[in-house]
Amino acid sequence: MAQQPNTRRSLAWREAMAGYAFIVPWIIGFLVFTVGPMLSSLYFSFTDYNIIDAPRWVGLANYARVFQGVPEYLMSGDPRQLKDPIFWKSLQVTLYFAAMSLPLILVFSFSLAVLLNQKIFGLRIWRSIYFLPSIISGVAVTLLWMRILNPRMGILNTFLRDVVGVNSPPGWLQDPNCAVPALVIMGMWGVGGSMIIYLAGLQGIPTDLYDAAKVDGANAWQSFWNVTFPMMTPVLFYNVVLGLITTFQYFTEVYVATGGAGGPQRATMFYNLYLYQNAFRYFDMGYASTMAWILFIIVLSLTGLIFRSSEAWVYYEGQLRGR
């Protein structure tokens, strides 16, 4: 009789131990490949470190390099006031790209998903065609687009010259003013990736909601704004968060397109590219770690910001909302 609770406890204990045992691979990996390196990079961010010599403690010097001169810059707008103008340039380039690319991709992929959710002819073929480019991202695709965007011989400018009739079409990747838009155009080719996410979301909307709307006398437009759109906001929200985070880690395309230089005239010096250059070109590992931590804090606060603001406009089914 006295043994029973003991057995029960040992059963629960054995279950818990088995559970922990199964997740051991992740725990080891988490400690070795995540927690350890994160703490080390936090430490490196306060040091001068070039891999060959031992890290030398410099306190806040790396952070000062980023932020010194910022108030003067904000007053005068003169980038020479900044200790590291390239850092701020890289932040500006990244945000510029995000501000252009994210809304465009959102609008295009969401409209595509809505169109591809209708009962129309050849639906599966259309879906496949639009989705295909998004699975072949990376180096090969960038090499292709570099040729399409070639100012003199590229197919895009030939089209603009001969069909549209533009006299001097943009220099795209070779023009500091058009390089970021060129990368945005290139990214638009992969619009099918987010389209398929929206499509999955659209298909998850229960049909009885549409039936109810129809009974209430809603037309197609009304049922879109009152059923589809509110039901889709969680997915929209998820994609916005993700898109922002991805932009701060944008690398492969710009590295390939500019040979790792971020040119012309640093017009495509994305944040992650500058971080890479500091770490693996100049072996300024301390400063690169500082940039990594600033990136981490930016991503964290952006995510937090959107999570918090989402309460106002993200609608989850089953959640009651007063009018």
Binding site: G29, V32, S41, I120, I129, L143, L295
Partner: protein, 354 residues
Amino acid sequence: VTKMRTTTMFRRLRESMRAIEMALAGITTLILAAGAVIIMIPLAFMISTSLKDPGQIRSDGNTLIPRTPLTVAINGKDAPLYEVQRPDGVVQMAMIKKAPGGMANFVDPAQPDTVVLLPLAEQTALYQLEIHWGNYVEAVQAMPFFQYLGNTLIVTFVGMIGMLFSSSLVAYGFSRFRARWLDVLFLLLLSTIMLPSQVRLIPLYVFFQNLGWVNTLLPLIVPQFFANAYDVFLLRQFIMTIPLEMDDAARIDGANPLQILLYIILPQARPALVSVAIFHFLYAWNDFYEPLIFLHTRDKWTLAVGLQTFDALYTINTHLIMAVSLLMILPPIILFFLAQRIFTQGVVFSGVKG
């Protein structure tokens, strides 16, 4: 009378609504078709360029058909053939010499001595289809292609085995056991999805260098054996849908947790395992950032790094670069057509891996 009129009005309204709906569906299809053509142009351009003669890329690089000017031997020299407008109709003539003022000298191949002076721009050059399959042979010989391919395959598939092995163990642990800290640990695991990889990359580089692993494939492979948040999450979500009764039945038969995983859970979770394997393939096959950082010499490079470097050195060889690029995107495309349903259903989480 009023009632009659209302009914007809309603009928007419319904008919016109249906007409509008049909028209809308038609317009939608048209828009989609136009967009699909635009989406496919870059791919068509890539295929055709990879099959072109470099001379054609320089002269008429934007023609989608790989072709070469049709020529005819005139007095022992090859001259391009044109379709020429003559008083007695359209005839084929060879252009033997350009003349000032946009003019050119043409001759009839049958009578090479009678020269006619005609404006060049008004005549149409004749071409014949010429597909250079040899570009592919040349391209894979111009770089250590098979070495790159071998490295890519090792990284992709050994990593995939490690990922499947570790992630299914961990996903099983997170989905079938009750323990006080498991929920907290699972949240911790999920939070690493948002973690930018840069924040741990530099110490990892130092760590791997101290181990002597830099410029080997190990930094790309070994971490896969310790599970990752995306794949664990995806597998766990799927395992949660497998009824617990099956575990209980096996347990009554005397199976231990590992046996339950092997004989009950994994066979049932096959669709999810296939999905994560495919996503891992795409990720590892296309990955550029980490191979670029960890692999320094040519013999260790993966296709992504090798191809980028080849472009940096021989960027004018567009035909070869497009040929190798096409070879590189072919496996993902084939995989896409083989497993379309997985892509269009389970893809929700694929975009976040990286």
